[in-house]
Every structure is written in structure tokens, then in C-alpha cells.
Amino acid sequence: MTLPPILRRWETLLLVLLVAIGAVNIAWSPFYLGVGNIVNLFQLSIEKIIVALTMTLIIVNGEIDLSVASVMGLSACVAAYLFHAGIALPWALLASLAAGAAAGAFNGFWVAYVGLPSLAVTLAGLIGYRGIARILVEDRAYGGFPDWFNALGQQPWIGPVTVSIVVFLVMFAGVAVVLHGSALGRLVYVMGNNVQAARYSGVRVKRVKLLLFTASGTVAALAGLLYAARLGSVRGDMAVGFELDIITIVLLGGVSIFGGSGNLVGVGLSILLILNLRNGMGLANITGNTQTSVIGALLVLSVLVPNMAQTLHTKWKGRET
């Protein structure tokens, strides 16, 4: 029994699931296809899916960045803190992006130049950056941003589409070009497959890794600012736990946790899949643990199915020869 290659692809499975979920949503809720709902569907998770794009690069590269949600919180808190200390908001925003870049570069330094595992380094970042964020804003909630800032996260810009959604679409195109159409993208895959081989063939492994982690930190900071703009108020616990949702999206997209394989089409489909699933469950009044469990089950499948298929495939081949 051999399936045509296109049907064996992970992306095909995601597409089938996506169509199925879309169909169920249409059947269940008359509100699902409304323009406002489609915009909300993206808006409610927009910061996570923006960070998922750089996370894809990191994971394909064979690393992980657990600190992204803490960097999101840190950037929002830095901006709010500086703004309330009397600094003009544009400068505060720039400073917070710089803080994100610095946090990412700090992670990258330990991973690339010292050779520590990114799991450990960014776990420390997850705790440390959140700590700094909490020290900055303490127990307070900072609001009172100018209207133009809140509008960045809340108001439609092009038609019904918000600034955040435009940022996401532009970044999606950008990351697609980098990963699938550039020399850097090829290096990301090569290193993800076999970092030793890459090193011996003259790839500047350290520089690439530092660049990726810095990009991850910067984008997380940008996402944190968009989140602050969407909510109109900043607290120390902003975006806590988001890293798991972000990594879930990437893994469900068929990106191997061991690096070296996966593509942005899969991640794009996975984003649509999870967002539509969440939205559909929300409109069907399924919330809380039930919702979490369904998405959790999906992730378990996404990790198990390809691995089991691989194992079975190898066994089958072994029998043939």
C-alpha cells in the first residue's frame, strides 16, 4: 500500500484538518464567517503567531527559545516604565525593542560562543527576564498610553485589518524568503541537520546562531509592544506562559524539534488550524480546560504520528531488503 507522495506530506494532513475544522465551524456558528470574527480570530492570538515565525527559524536551526514570552513581558514593562518616568513614548518604544534585542543577543552569546544548550540558557532567560519585568513595574498596572499607541493594537488600519495583522503578514513573507529563498535559510537548515558538518564546511555557525537569537528577542519585544497596545495596559505578568503556545504552533506545523526539517507552509497551516479551532470552540462556548485539552491532544498527535510513521516506515523498508 503506497500513497502518492503528496498525500503522505504533513502539510496535506494539516490542510485536511483545517478544512474539516472550517466546515464544522461554519455549520455550528452563524458568526464564524463574519469579517469582524475573522479579524478577531487573528487579533486574539496575533502576538503569539508573530513570535512563532522567528521561533520556526530557531527550531529549524536545532535550538529552542523558551524566553520569548518573558521578553514580550519585559519589552512591554520597559516601555511602560520609561513612559511613566517621563520619556516620550517613541523613545520608550525604541528602548524596549533594544532591550529585546539585547535579551536575545545575551541568549545567543551563551548558546553560540560558550556552547551551552539553548534549553538551559533560555530557561534561565524565561525566569530572569520576567524577573526584571516584575521589578520594573512591581505590583502596578500601567495604563494611560496615548491614543495613537492603543490604536496600533486595537483599531482597523487597512479596511478591517489591524496594524498587528499587517505586521504579521509582512513578517510571514519576510521569513518565508529568508528560510526558503536565501543563503542564510540554507545555513539554518544545514546547521539544524548537523552542526558539526556545517562547522567543518566553513559555516560561521556562531554568527548565524547569535543572529537568530537576537532576531527572536527583537521580534518578541515587538510582539510584546503590540500586546500592550492591544490591551491598553501593562502588568508584570503579561504574556506569561505564551512560550508553550508558540512552540506548540511551530511543532504542529511539522517542524522537527530536533532541527533541520520543516517549512513555513506547515507553520502557516498550523497557525490557521489552531486559531480556527480556538475560535470555533469559543463560538461554540467551549472554554477552559476542555479547550486546552483539545489543543494539547492535537500536539501529542503532531509529535507522535510523524515519529510512529517514521518508525513503521523504517521497519517496512527493513523487511523489503
Partner: protein, 347 residues
């Protein structure tokens, strides 16, 4: 002249009476179909389930043909989850959202969007701090009374010699807990509490494990404390369990705001000799009456509006004295529990 004077007096008196006449108790008309969402801070703890029970009771009395939706996020995803639920309810165009707000002012954009679509937003248990996007807050008890009740329990447990005690709260920006703690600090200024001293506040984020370890951390950090005061139903149970597990109940007592069913064992064994609470069932019930009344147009969200809320009797909407802006309906009163009455209340 005398007649004119008399007439003036009469007119003035009528004038005084008129507002009362105009705001006579509105009877809320049952039987209208209104989609309503009850949104707790998160699912899975008893007080919110009790509020749900009370809201269901009111829904049955008001013969609302639409099923009450009890929707909530998980504790870990409370803020983003509440925003998501409010946004989806807005998409669905429900009639009213009743929310125990856990998101501070971060809920404001979502609440305003709901409000702009004509949805009535009633908060209960915990309001929107800025009151933006909110019609009315159904307050459980007066915040200053909460402070006094906690001060009294502290005095009664620690005795006339007083001593040091610490506070285990929910999250650092939980609007209600902060207001209660502030009210207690104010109450403690009364000379009668002169020997009571608050040494510190820690936060367990309304999660059992975090609250448990924060309670133990308090014991290490402030040796010699005689009491942990926890104005949160999650925190008080966790603290009582921590003291019981560490066999510290002889030295350190626990008090605060708790649910009788959860506190029964600890009150019986002396770890938490006294605690207080309002009825969450009644709070859910009153919130439902308020939201239903607003959504059906029977009540207007303005100071002075009065209405009858079923078995609980009459209530009036007033300006909320605990916030800069906003309206509230005050439920009250407190119930205090100790070994003598906790068993009956736990049933």
C-alpha cells in the same frame, strides 16, 4: 403670605419626595429571552461554582428561555482567556456579560467593544478598575467593612496582647484584594488594634501550590508571626493546609475570607478558628437579576435606580465610593464562621 409660605414648603416637600417616587422599586419582568454569559476569573474553584448556582436560580425565577452560559478560562490563561471570551460573546451579540474581572484594565478594550455593541457588562466579585466599558459592579460587601471584619478577627484570634501577622493575598493587582487590605490597614489605625502589626504581604496568585509555598515562606521570613490573614478563598485554604502539614497550628493561626465547605476541617481542628465570607450563591443571584434587568431595559445603569432582586429584596444603584468612576450595587452583609456554625454552612 402664610399661604405662599405653606405652598412653598409643600412644594419643597413634594420636590424632595419626587425623586423617591420616580425611582420606586422597579419590578423586573420575567420571561424575556436574553442570552447571558457568566464569566468567572477562571473555572474550577468552589466560590465561582456557587455564584453559577445562584445565577441559575435567578435564571429559573426570571424564566429566561435562553440557557445561561457559564464560560471561563483556565487559571494559567486567565487574562488572555477572559479577553477571548468577552470578544467571542461580543461576536455572538449576547445580551449581557457578567464578569468577575481578573484582568485589571487590560479587559477595557474588549469590554468597551462589547458595550459599544449594546451588550450590558456587569462585573461582580471584582470590578474593572477604571470602570470603562462597565455598566454596574455588583459588590459583595462594603470594602471598608471587609477591612474591619478582618481586623476584628485578627484581634479576636491573637487576643488582647496582639502581635505580628502577615497577609497572603491573590495577585498583586487584584482590585478587590488590594482594596480590602487597604481597608484593613485603615481599620487597624483605631487604637483598639494598637497591638496588632502587619509585617508583610505576599502573593500566591490564587493558585494552591504557589499560595502554599508563599505561606511557608512567610513563616521563614517573619519568625514570630501569630497569624496569616488571607483575603482569598484559595489562599486561606492553602495557608491552613501548610500550617497543618508543618504542625504549626499551635503557634500560627490562619484567618481571612474562605468558603465554609473548604474550611470545615481547618476550623474544626483549630488551624483556622475564624473566617468570614459573603454568600457567592447570593452574589451570582443578584448579578443575574441586575444584568437581566439592564439587558431587558427594566433598569437603567444610573445612580438612584432601584429594583427588586427576587428573594434578596430591594437594591439601589449608587456611585461606587471605592473607585473614581463607576456604579455599584452593594450586596452585603458578611457572615462570620467559627467552630459553632461552620458545619451547618458547609452543607
Amino acid at each position: 403670605m402664610k399661604k405662599i409660605l405653606l405652598a412653598t414648603v409643600a412644594a419643597t416637600m413634594l420636590g424632595l419626595l419626587a425623586p423617591h417616587g420616580a425611582s420606586a422599586q422597579t419590578t423586573i419582568e420575567p420571561g424575556k429571552p436574553v442570552e447571558m454569559v457568566l464569566l468567572p476569573k477562571f473555572l474550577g474553584i468552589l466560590p465561582f461554582d456557587q455564584a453559577h448556582k445562584g445565577a441559575e436560580e435567578a435564571a429559573a425565577e426570571l424564566k429566561n428561555a435562553k440557557t445561561l452560559q457559564y464560560l471561563g478560562p483556565t487559571p494559567e490563561n486567565s487574562v488572555a482567556g477572559q479577553i477571548e471570551i468577552v470578544t467571542n460573546a461580543t461576536t455572538q451579540g449576547v445580551g449581557a456579560i457578567m464578569m468577575s474581572n481578573n484582568s485589571g484594565d487590560q479587559i477595557v478594550p474588549a469590554a468597551k467593544a462589547a458595550h459599544a455593541k449594546g451588550i450590558k457588562v456587569v462585573t461582580w466579585d471584582s470590578p474593572i478598575p477604571s470602570a470603562e466599558g462597565e455598566d454596574v459592579f455588583v459588590a459583595q460587601v462594603d470594602f471598608s467593612e471587609t477591612g474591619k471584619v478582618m481586623a476584628d478577627m485578627a484581634l479576636s484570634i491573637m487576643g488582647p496582647d496582639g502581635g505580628k501577622f502577615a497577609i497572603l493575598s491573590a495577585s498583586p493587582d487584584a482590585a478587590n484584594q488590594n482594596a480590602w487590605i487597604a481597608a484593613m490597614q485603615t481599620a487597624l489605625k483605631d487604637p483598639k488594634y494598637a497591638k496588632l502589626e502587619v509585617v508583610g504581604i505576599v502573593y500566591g496568585n490564587d493558585q494552591s501550590e504557589a499560595s502554599y509555598s508563599q505561606a511557608l515562606a512567610l513563616v521563614d521570613k517573619y519568625p514570630g508571626i501569630k497569624l496569616i490573614m488571607a483575603p482569598t478563598s484559595v489562599g486561606i485554604v492553602a495557608a491552613a493546609k501548610a500550617m497543618q502539614d508543618e504542625k504549626l497550628c499551635d503557634k500560627i493561626k490562619v484567618s481571612g475570607l474562605g468558603v465554609p465547605a473548604e474550611m470545615l476541617a481547618y476550623t474544626k481542628n483549630g488551624c483556622a478558628p475564624q473566617f468570614a465570607l459573603w454568600s457567592f450563591v447570593d452574589l451570582g443571584y443578584l448579578s443575574y437579576y441586575t444584568a437581566y434587568g439592564l439587558a431587558t431595559g427594566a433598569i437603567k445603569a444610573e445612580a438612584g435606580a432601584s429594583f427588586k432582586a427576587g428573594r434578596l429584596g430591594n437594591y439601589t444603584i449608587t456611585k461606587d465610593p471605592t473607585r473614581k468612576e463607576g456604579l455599584r450595587v452593594l450586596m452585603g452583609p458578611f457572615s462570620k464562621y467559627d467552630a459553632s456554625n461552620v458545619e451547618a454552612a458547609a452543607k
